[in-house]
């Protein structure tokens, strides 16, 4: 067992876990933050994506010991005072979520994308989301949601 100190969704956490336990499992099992999903377990699908120090990372590939001192944001940390974040609102309105299993990762990927490119081109959107697989939408409505979120702005 190892002790890891990190900040998750603005809260300081002290985690006791085997050092190689996946961050995804710590989030889901130890902290009951089940918004991050396991789709493939090998970093292909992005359903487990979270933000670590502002970077978009697949939490299934991160042993918890690497999270020491990190600032982590999960989908649960995105809504502001229980109100949908503008990106979440746009996904809802534009039909960017169908079955919803890729949605948390997709929304965090969008957040990361819009931090870098507040007014992204379609190509930047496509490349920014290509680590997140969606089997339902064909991505078109997700692109619309991202463009809409860029229009309304995502300042917090």
């Amino acid at each position: 067992m190892t002790t890891v100190l990190c900040t998750i969704n603005g809260r300081e956490e002290t985690i006791e876990a085997p050092p190689m336990k996946r961050l995804l499992d710590v989030l889901r099992e130890d902290l009951h933050l089940t918004g991050a999903k396991e789709g493939c377990g090998e970093g292909e699908c992005g359903a487990c994506a979270v933000l670590i120090n502002g970077d978009l990372v697949n939490s299934c590939l991160v042993p918890i010991l690497q999270a020491e001192g990190a600032e982590i944001t999960t989908i649960e940390g995105l809504a502001i005072d229980g109100k949908l974040h503008p990106i979440q609102q746009c996904f809802l309105e534009e039909g960017g979520a169908q079955c919803g299993i890729c949605t948390p990762g997709m929304i965090l990927a969008t957040h990361h994308l819009l931090e870098r490119y507040p007014q992204p081109t379609l190509l930047q959107i496509q490349e920014g989301l290509n680590g997140n697989l969606c089997r339902c939408t064909g991505y078109m409505r997700i692109f619309n949601a991202v463009q809409q979120a860029a229009l309304v702005g995502v300042e917090e």
Binding site: I101, L129, R141, F143
Partner: protein, 770 residues
């Protein structure tokens, strides 16, 4: 009722959308029950053989585990679909790799993989077969005997029950033959199959999980546990994609978890990881279709014979009905004076294939729409003109003899789709540019139809039931077993009820599909939710309203506040209100299973899809660069969801055509990972332009027919037709990967393509008359 508001045809946010974007929606792996254990499956490592011994390795504390074998099954050792050939757990023989033999449960999920690996099973191996051809040779029989040896099902469908007369073949100007193949395809929902089961000696079995058809699982549990239906309760959790892959398979994993729960005395969760889900669960049936077509020099189809064969894998599962839909769709939206389809579903030692969006139709439509382009070439017409001379229209009869009494205008759809895609200009442009370019561009299309709802007498047999109740707060709540897995069930059914009740969309609720509480409104498949269940919801809403009016509590022209007050008054007076309606078969729909003729479906959706492709002759990669999907679907209940369905389906269709290849090695799926089974990403897809036309059907809610399967039917043939335009090579198989294109362009190969040069083509096509 004053219709002051329009909800149907508009796009309110999906009912469970807020929970999904917040990450709060509860999928089965997000749910934990007190004292819950975890389950795992010990599977066959060989494709065919007899189990000689089972040994438990020494390094595992086996006393901590619950171990279930077939001997623990209280009822029948079978997973019932249409037949009872499929064991719940193998006893003496295994018929495919990954066949379940033992089940393990333990409180700690992490120790299970090592325990599964420590169960050593030895086998006496038997010869195995992996292809339709090996199966039909019948040298090795792995299923059935005599007539049914290796054969799950056969159909003979003849228009007017008449074979093609010899003189039609003799007098035809051309006889065009062709063979077409499609591969297996993984559904690849992002949420793997998973369930949690509980067992109680008094209450029976409860299973919750990711699934499409809760009552299918109830039926499976009844047999495995020898319990009455009321002691087999099934609850659908939020489901992260399905596409048919959670139609029949939950009966397997649900029965397994329930057996472990019974023996361990704990709730047991089984959630597969990706590699297990891909290796062990069902996929789309591979197919082989042979066409023989008599055509006049004017390009009129005179007669067709189609041999349609699908590979069902090791057990029958849903193969007979998959075959049925493929058979009925094989002649396509064309007028055939004579048509014979001979169809068969064959057994192989591959893990059983099952339901996948389109359900046999994408396979036979691919063959036909490639074949139509071939016929056009032989006859000397454009692909468009050949189709124009043969398309079905209002008043014609399909190959099953069904009279098309509802208006059909495929000519118009074809005109519109080709105009909107700028087809003619692009065809000329690519013809002009290709000779001097290493990137060869092409444009092609497919014309097709898809029957909505269950095939033939299916709906009559399902006899579905739908209810609407009033909640204690006076709100209407729908009670259906139809499930939401992304396609929009919750949303469209609430729209239909809200529109019918003249209430705001937000006022209508829908219950979680829990077989302890909702009636059996049938499985959530085949676009029957919008059409059949939607219509039942409409009728139930009318009935609920009529009851409130008849009770004197409600007057027409009511406001939402009036409705709620009336509902509360009614509840005070009577305690509860539940309006229940049952499916009523339309009087003019008849289907004859014996002759395979009649009204195959109450309604059809009609479509024309146009694909543009680019084939890079340096890398041999083909990509789709633009896509137009035009369809007539009766009524678009929710424009955003409907377009999203089509776009997502087109993406799957593009994957089916160009990316998604199941590589089998001795019956084992070699690429059972997302790393090496490639589905389209956000950078792989072209712009997808979706347009709808609406010719309301009297059989569906507000005129709705089906939409969900169309985008699986059209893309593959449209794309290969476009690739033929781009390269001049008539590929006949999907998936078509760069290595397949490379193979053909660099080496003269006669597999997977064909030549129209009569000197090369040999028997494939021949001019019948001198």
């Amino acid at each position: 009722m004053a219709n002051t508001h329009q909800i149907v045809g508009h796009s309110p946010p999906r009912k469970e959308g807020v929970a999904k974007v917040l990450g709060r929606a509860q999928y089965v792996d997000d749910i934990s029950l007190p004292d819950m254990w975890f389950g795992a499956t010990v599977r066959s490592t060989i494709p065919h053989g007899r189990i000689s011994s089972i040994n438990f390795g020494p390094d595992i504390p086996w006393h901590e585990f619950t171990i279930v074998s077939a001997a623990d099954i209280p009822g029948e050792n079978t997973i019932v679909h249409l037949t009872r050939d499929h064991p719940c757990l193998a006893v003496t023989n295994v018929n495919h790799v990954e066949e379940p033999i033992l089940l393990l449960a333990h409180p700690d999920r992490a120790v299970l993989p090592a325990a599964v690996a420590a169960v050593h099973i030895t086998y006496e191996e038997l010869p195995a077969i992996y292809t339709i051809e090996e199966s039909e040779k019948k040298e090795t029989i792995i299923w059935g005997e005599g007539e049914t040896a290796n054969t799950f099902k056969t159909y003979l469908m003849q228009k007017n029950q008449t074979p093609v007369p010899d003189e039609v073949w003799e007098k035809a100007d051309f006889i065009v033959e062709g063979e077409y193949r499609t591969g297996a395809q993984e559904q690849l929902y992002i949420e793997n199959n998973g369930v949690i089961a509980e067992y109680d000696a008094e209450k029976g079995v409860t299973v919750r999980g990711s699934m499409q058809c809760p009552f299918y699982l109830v039926h499976a549990l009844e047999l495995v546990f020898n319990l009455p239906a009321e002691k087999c309760r099934v609850i659908q959790a939020e489901t992260g994609g399905a596409f048919g892959g959670k139609e029949d398979f939950p009966s397997v994993i649900g029965s397994h978890a329930a057996l472990l729960a019974m023996k361990s005395g704990h709730p047991v969760k089984i959630c597969y990881d990706r590699s297990e889900d891909m290796a062990a669960t069902t996929k789309r049936h591979p197919s082989r279709t042979r066409h023989r077509t008599a055509v006049s020099k004017e390009g009129k189809l005179l007669a067709g014979e189609i041999d349609f064969a699908i590979d069902g894998g090791a057990y029958a599962t849903l193969s007979p009905v998959v075959l049925s839909r493929g058979t009925i769709h094989a002649p396509g939206p064309y007028n055939w004076p004579y048509m014979t389809v001979r169809a068969k579903a064959m057994a192989t030692n591959i893990p059983p294939h099952g339901a996948f969006r389109g359900f046999g139709a994408p396979q036979s439509i691919f063959a036909l729409e490639r074949h139509m382009d071939k016929i056009a070439k032989v006859v000397g017409l454009t692909p468009e003109e050949l189709r124009r001379r043969n398309l079905l229209s209002t008043g014609d009869r399909t190959a099953t003899g069904q009279l098309l009494s509802d208006p059909v205008d495929m000519q118009h759809l074809l005109t519109r789709a080709l105009e909107e895609s700028d087809y003619q200009a692009k065809r000329k442009q690519f013809d002009r540019e290709n000779p001097t370019s290493t990137i060869k561009r092409g444009i092609g299309f497919a014309t097709f139809f898809h029957g909505s709802g269950f095939t033939g007498s299916g709906e009559r047999r399902l006899n579905s039931l739908v209810a609407i109740e009033l909640t204690p707060k006076g709100q209407p709540r729908l009670l259906v077993s139809s499930t939401e897995f992304g396609q929009g069930t919750n949303t469209i059914l609430c729209q239909v009820a809200a529109q019918t009740l003249n209430l705001p969309y937000e006022e209508v609720l829908i219950a979680q599909p829990d077989t302890g509480h909702v009636p059996n409104s049938g499985p959530t498949v085949a676009s029957r939710t919008a059409m059949v269940v939607g219509k039942l919801v409409e009728r139930a809403a009318q009935s609920l309203c009529a009851t409130l009016v008849a009770s004197g509590n409600l007057q027409l022209g009511y406001t939402p506040e009036d409705f709620r007050r009336a509902a509360l008054r009614y509840l005070t007076q009577h305690g509860a209100l539940k309006a229940e309606v049952r499916y009523e078969s339309p009087g003019n729909i008849f289907w004859d299973d014996e002759t395979y003729s009649g009204e195959a479906y109450p309604a059809y959706a009609w479509a024309v899809y146009v694909a543009e492709v680019a084939v890079d002759t340096t890398t041999y990669a083909a990509s789709v660069t633009n896509f137009h999907a035009l369809q007539e679907v009766g009524k678009v209940l929710h424009p955003v969801l409907a377009a999203g369905q089509i776009e997502g389906g087109v993406a799957q269709g593009i994957g089916y055509a160009l990316y998604e290849k199941c590589l089998w090695q001795n019956g084992h799926l070699a690429n059972n990972q997302m790393t090496n089974y490639i589905m389209p990403t956000s950078t792989d897809l072209p712009p997808i332009h979706v347009t709808f036309e609406e010719v309301p059907s009297p059989h569906g809610a507000f005129g709705a027919k089906g939409i969900g399967e169309l985008p699986m039917d059209g893309p593959a043939p449209a794309i290969l037709n476009a690739i033929e335009h781009a390269t001049g090579i008539a590929f006949t198989e999907v998936p078509l990967l760069p290595e397949d294109i490379f193979e053909h362009m660099t080496r003269i190969s006669d597999s997977g393509t064909e030549s129209l040069d009569p000197a090369v083509a040999g028997p494939i096509f021949s001019e019948a008359t001198a």
